[in-house]
Symmetry: C2
Subunit: 759 residues, 2 copies
Amino acid sequence: MKETKRVKRDSDIRVDARIKVSGKARFIEDVEFANMLHGATIRSPIPHGRIASIVNLEKIRNMPGVRAVVTANDIPGENIVPFVKQDYPCLAPDEVKFHGQAVALVAAETVEEARSAARSAEFEYEEYPAVFDAVQAMKPDAVHVGGEDNVHSYFRIRKGDVDKGFREADVIVEGVFNNKHQVHCYLENQGVVAVPESGGGISVYGSMQCPFYVQNALVKVTGIRYSGIKVVQTVTGGGFGGKEDVPSILASHAALLALRTQRPVRIIYDREEDFISMSKRHPARTRVKYGATKEGKITACEAEYIVNGGAFCTLSPIVAWRGVVHISGPYDIPNVKADSYAMATNTVPCGAFRGFGQTQANFANECLMDELAEKLDMDPVELRKRNILKTGSRTSTGQVIGESCGLEETLIKAAEKINFKQHFGRDKGIRKKGMGISTTFYGVGLGAEGEYFAKAGAQVYVKEDGSVIVAIGNVEMGQGSNTVFNRICADTLGCPYESVEVLQPDTTRVPDSGPTVASRSTMVGGRAVLDAARQVCDTFRKVAADKLGVKPFDIEVDAVDSRYRCSRGEMSYFEVVNEAYRRREKVAAQGWYRVEGCTFDQETGQGNPYSVYTYSANACEVEVDTETGQVTVTKFAAAHDIGKAIHMISAEGQIQGGTVQAIGYALHENLVLENGRILNPSLTGYTVPTSLDACDVIPIIVEHPHGEGPFGAKGLGEPPMIGSAAAILNAIYDATGIRFRHTPCLPEDIVKELSKLSI
Amino acid sequence: MKETKRVKRDSDIRVDARIKVSGKARFIEDVEFANMLHGATIRSPIPHGRIASIVNLEKIRNMPGVRAVVTANDIPGENIVPFVKQDYPCLAPDEVKFHGQAVALVAAETVEEARSAARSAEFEYEEYPAVFDAVQAMKPDAVHVGGEDNVHSYFRIRKGDVDKGFREADVIVEGVFNNKHQVHCYLENQGVVAVPESGGGISVYGSMQCPFYVQNALVKVTGIRYSGIKVVQTVTGGGFGGKEDVPSILASHAALLALRTQRPVRIIYDREEDFISMSKRHPARTRVKYGATKEGKITACEAEYIVNGGAFCTLSPIVAWRGVVHISGPYDIPNVKADSYAMATNTVPCGAFRGFGQTQANFANECLMDELAEKLDMDPVELRKRNILKTGSRTSTGQVIGESCGLEETLIKAAEKINFKQHFGRDKGIRKKGMGISTTFYGVGLGAEGEYFAKAGAQVYVKEDGSVIVAIGNVEMGQGSNTVFNRICADTLGCPYESVEVLQPDTTRVPDSGPTVASRSTMVGGRAVLDAARQVCDTFRKVAADKLGVKPFDIEVDAVDSRYRCSRGEMSYFEVVNEAYRRREKVAAQGWYRVEGCTFDQETGQGNPYSVYTYSANACEVEVDTETGQVTVTKFAAAHDIGKAIHMISAEGQIQGGTVQAIGYALHENLVLENGRILNPSLTGYTVPTSLDACDVIPIIVEHPHGEGPFGAKGLGEPPMIGSAAAILNAIYDATGIRFRHTPCLPEDIVKELSKLSI
């Protein structure tokens, strides 16, 4: 069969651009139902203890506008919001494990009435001792919070013989690195509306990444069967992982109130509530040790990775797993020993955040690589070149890198782009420049530990006028997936991009597409769209061939001009659609894709944890104001091998956005907790980069196509957030001569260390 | 492969029973949107003329609560509601053709404000001469209303040589029969809500039979492309054909107001508006002539069938076509000549109504058969037996009846059931009894003239807990189709009936399933459900076989006990689902079905107009009160060969409901028009049978399965409405000796004729 002709066409506008810039997009705040109530949450005032009662519950029930108060006793199903484990109660039954944990719910006629009622709750409680730090939680005498001995989960990698590896090393470096929480700070806070349906079911609309996770939670909490649950994602103002797991909590809460009142109930958090109760990036303490020969060949890596999972397990196991799988870096190292622990503490549960456990791990290993290069007196680019993964290399899990590895190309291109050259703290004057580099590899998708969800369904439906509806369970949350699905569908069917519309995901509409996480939408969801579009295209080829008097495989689909061609003649896409309708052909199809062949041995950590990897390198220049400690990122080149850019502008935007988010992680974002209580739950107290803090990130797209992805595409969402912080901290060292081993690296830290130097 | 074991199981409750009897079903009146406006219609005060202007338009715009007034000038797309032809304006541009035609629209904050504003319209107009009767409209000097010479459409049948046939006849009978309008009188009036969507599209929710027709109309009127239009059927309180075409008008109106105001707009008609403006069963004048040998073999049939289509064409061509195809009756007659005309007049446009042109035609031929039997001095059952269609017979279109013809069985069983025996007007006393009989055949589905729509798409989606969602474009409107789809799906998958939920149809969800008309849902929609369920079942068989260590075709699906069995062991349906999910199998599928092979030669009327026929016979006893003219149907046996009853109670209910509707048609329902204006637009002025008028109709299900239908099922919706009126009028003759050749046959007609006799 002749291949579809696909060439980048004029229109490069994202499919969601117009609706968003014109203000017409309907976020959850814009979704109103007739007769709708508003929900608010009564939360624990203590980080650990037993809530004996809400003393004034009856009074709250009778407050103005209040229509229902729901506690753990009122849950029709199980009091569990299911994540990896089944430990997170929907509403605290009596014991609370973190400050801000949901205890009860209020529904009232207005938002103000609901919140006012929730705020007025008075508690009778007994406070327990608490533990807030992951390392403290490991101690034998630590207060028990959760899991076995406070361990939510443990994973390890054992490859080769690290002792032997270190014996063979001429040089050994070791460091302990610390990262604090990071808050997602999506533009749109968490919000859902639950609507009771006449048949006894419930529909939930909301800002979310994983409608099918929410569906699972609703089944559990409400006791309603799957066919009675409908979850629809509304236009979502950012997720970054922060809308992976926790929307299930809000959705369950809203559903409980809606079932109780038999009226639609909307819950939208304000920023403070969102900060206090929603998931975060795990704080981490990471110890890494590298040994290398004097020629710069790494002989061994040992690592211990401890993340603070907070009070409940949520996604911590998978975060810790992804971290440990990648913790030795994108290098071919014969001997690796790594252990990772997700610990339970009395802090807000941590969950998914772009990078998903790799950000902290990569920060540690890539900063340490810089130290290793220095100790070897070797250029850090050169050191990496001697160790990086190439086709035929083996990762720390023993996986052989097969097709599609553009890591070296990303490294060379990123370094070249900013004329990478170290300054060695030699700059004179107050403002000192420095350069830093980092590399990353990233296992695309859910991998062996998330295999159950490693699937996607999609539906393509061509309407009578050639306009096309695409339904898929993966969500657009700003990352550009709808534009990618649009392109994959249009380029396959040979229709104009403008003809294809991607619907808001709806769990009743398409088979479970898995979650919208792990940079998997393009590669996995995209394959499902491709599968569906190909089936319809096959029908169109048959129709065109029959009309033109040739065989289907003689038909060439020209997606550029939207034509079906063969030697005997041609038809426009629209003529083909028309003819297919005349013949009453089925011009709709369901697509399906599942990722196969991932393995992971729990004992040794050996196997093929992911089927596809992406690769990236970041090179940056910073300027450090040695008086104020202010760090300005002045140049940043981010090169990513993503297989194939389905939509160039979106891909470049992902790189720029992820990098700026990493600048915030590296330099600005400082969540302060005291006794498990967040002291700065606001965007004034917790500062994210603004456009003034963002440098002109130069995205470099490297395309080593992978056979598994649609048109060769791999994943991109998370890698820009993973490697950048290390590059920045390495550049700060290069500018100042000071090694910082933590994030955020704040101006006060820099001033403090510089002042020590000058003493 | 072993066949699925299917046996009638305990539960015989309709799937929509609980929600309807408990009052929880949400009809369009229960569908509220936040910020919703209400629409009302300004209508023509004259039956024919030019509306120069609405004089007080500006004043109406400024009336309390009014938010928009829309006229023909404000239509963004084309001013056409598309039916078979493109003659029906959405809003009268200037010329109006019937009293009550929509001229302009008002949207206001409340229903009362909207209606009050609409009522206050004052017109400047010029009235034209008008024609109200179909036969008058045929005259050369008739006022021109529409079509060519007022003919909306014309069809003919030419088989054999009727002149020769009549020459061969020993006996000839001929009669002219008249039927007045019939009003659908669905429990729920017409209603829709249109909701403007943020992307510029529009969603319409409403009481309707044909969401895809509404979609087509919205595309036309709004100029929005198909992918931007979503039409969702809400729980529908009866249709009977009355919600086939005309909901497109309401939907277009509501959409215009919604697009104008950018707010949801609901339009629900009150009963008067519904009577005045919505479609009706066509009044008809039918002339039939039969010739037969003295042995009772019919040698020729000639017929002329004239229906009054009203001001616009809508579905009249198809009504006239179905009428003429069936007009010679379910008999094997060598020579047939028939002509049918749908005429344009200045009355409300007539459209679809259960029976769809066959009701009037069958009334004529079956009454005349009674006259023929009398003239031959032959029992009417015997006369029919000598002529009825059997396997191998040829219809009037020359079609050979293939498999599945249970007509003779229905005839025998119906007659037996009431011990059919004529009274010949011999009863003494005031109350006289009589018996009548009739037979019918019915081409299931859309046939050759509706081939474009003769298709159906469906989707079956098994969820994680084994609950199942079925999506299809055919609607439940009380006829029981959702129960039928439920049964077909559950019996195919081998799951409990309780596990399957059929969703409200949504045009964005499934491929065009065609309209819910022509008794096609079970046979055509059912096949699509069957196709989808079979695909999923094949996956389940594979999973079960693999687990049990056998081949898929060794697996026997036991739908009775919900088990997948083989010699090596068995799994419950739920275990199979669980295993399929574990393996990440695609457990959803799209089904598709199209009817093939229908033909009709426009010149000769020869061909295979339908692929499948159902057959029925009605036998009844009436008691005529000769003082009051009151006719009471005392016995009614209705035998229908429907191939296979998928859900017995629903099938029997269809027979009983249709028969009672036919009793109304025969005896009660009298729409009175004066100069094109309906004088009794209410349920007090126009009386339908109540439970007190309904006799105990005995349904007799005859099952001659047809290979094309699911599990052998054919169609049933319309036949009970087709043959019954003739049986009743034949019984009245038998009781009184008076031949009435019209419907409704009112008490006053009977008293009047009886009084002539007694003079």
